[in-house]
Assembly symmetry: C2
Homo-oligomer: 228 residues x 2
DNA sequence: TATAAATAGACCGACGGTCGGTTTGTTTCA
DNA sequence: TGAAACAAACCGACCGTCGGTCTATTTATA
């Protein structure tokens, strides 16, 4: 094979690119190191020069995903024109926009992430996302508590719990998606919509906000997402 | 090797016994099928006669664990002398008793379950526990809503969310345990106690109960558990 | 030109899983 | 009654694949 040399960062990123694609496409366990190096046109020696193990590659994928997520969220949390509740709502609004824009990829991602052979992938990504999100949300809750716009005893704990609740929404999005694909469209949309509302209610009550102050979803969103 | 024949159920349970022990002791991934059959004194052929894969064995372990959990919880949920809030508190009280009684094993379990090589184990157990718990809790919430002792819109969704919150408590128990083992006893106890209180507050607020009606923990519990 | 980083790819051992065959118990029927 | 037929349980040698290692070679750079 011809010997090609590239800058370390480039190579490393190419490997992570391939891995990310393959992991989501075929699952983490079903993707072999040989698959990755074939796609990336790299020898095994080169691969193990950059990553000590397949596991390390997974971690790199998860970390990069979380970092990108952080970069998107960061500005929102630093916006001084919004109070904490406004930030939360902006977060959900942004999340909705993103979900609609990237619906096809996202659906694919969900399907991949919840496959049993992908628990490792799911877990690592969740861990990485939590690691970057908890401090951000905790800080937001602290500010909101000081402003008096919400009531969050122990912002750290509350942040983790709020983010933990997010998992239940992800779960229900997945089952709703399955149901939609099975043709049960009405039920799927109704379920997703209802659960997202309940999620909003849970947050409102937990943070002692008045009813309706959190807008996790908006009329027609569930359906629009499913049909996108 | 001498040929020993046993009733299928016995054999199968022996295999699950060994697997459970080995999985928790050395981790799921580090435990090989050969390890299991060696401990169980069974040939490979016999093993694959009972389980189609190593994965299937893991599922069996998780399912049995969840079933046992269900058997312990079932009576409590059927106790007619308690209202829904009383049931919840009884649940937490029982859980505390159990935690103190089995503290050593539980600590070991926690350490095993949160090791990175055990995500599959963790995930499967969580899934199995959820599957048996959600209907129970949902039914309890429905009853409570009818009684008027609590306010749970959409009991199914609320049940899943409440149970999802439990994960954050498990996470904090693990970190508190680590901190305790590192010698930071005061901080560990304070952290665990505080977070459990926050968990209680979250539940109270979500279900619109009056402050202090949910007793997730009691004075001195966190410390007692850590020192047990 | 010396040195270290980067790349190549043959190779290894362990692992999950398969397969052909044996043993044991149970059912069927002359 | 007993032997033939069948099914379930069991055995362990074997296989293909996979993550990871190793040695050799090339390339950049100081």
């Amino acid at each position: 094979m011809v010997r090609i040399k590239k800058s370390p960062e480039l190579r490393s990123n190419e490997l992570i690119d391939c891995a990310e694609r393959l992991f989501f496409q075929h699952g983490y366990e079903s993707t072999t190191v040989n698959d990755v190096i074939r796609e990336a046109n790299v020898s095994k020696g080169a691969f193990y020069h950059y990553f000590v193990s397949k596991e390390a590659l997974l971690e790199a994928v998860a970390t990069r995903l979380a970092e990108r997520n952080l970069k998107e969220l960061q500005p929102l949390f630093e916006d001084p024109s919004l109070d904490a509740v406004g930030q939360l709502n902006a977060l959900f609004a942004g999340s909705r926009r993103l979900k609609l824009d990237m619906a096809p990829q996202l659906k694919n991602t969900f399907n991949a992430l919840f496959k049993p052979e992908n628990v490792a992938l799911y877990h690592r990504i969740d861990e990485a996302l939590m690691a970057v999100s908890v401090p951000l949300v905790a800080e937001m809750l602290r500010r909101g508590h000081e402003e008096g716009t919400l009531d969050a005893p122990d912002p750290e704990a509350a942040a983790l719990m709020l983010l933990q609740l997010r998992v239940s929404v992800a779960k229900v999005m997945h089952t709703a998606l399955k149901r939609y694909e099975a043709g049960d469209i009405e039920a799927a949309a109704a379920m997703l919509d209802g659960w997202m509302r309940t999620y909003g209610t849970a947050i409102e009550r937990f943070l002692k906000l008045r009813d309706g102050s959190i807008e996790v979803t908006e009329p027609g969103f569930a359906r629009a997402f499913l049909e996108a």
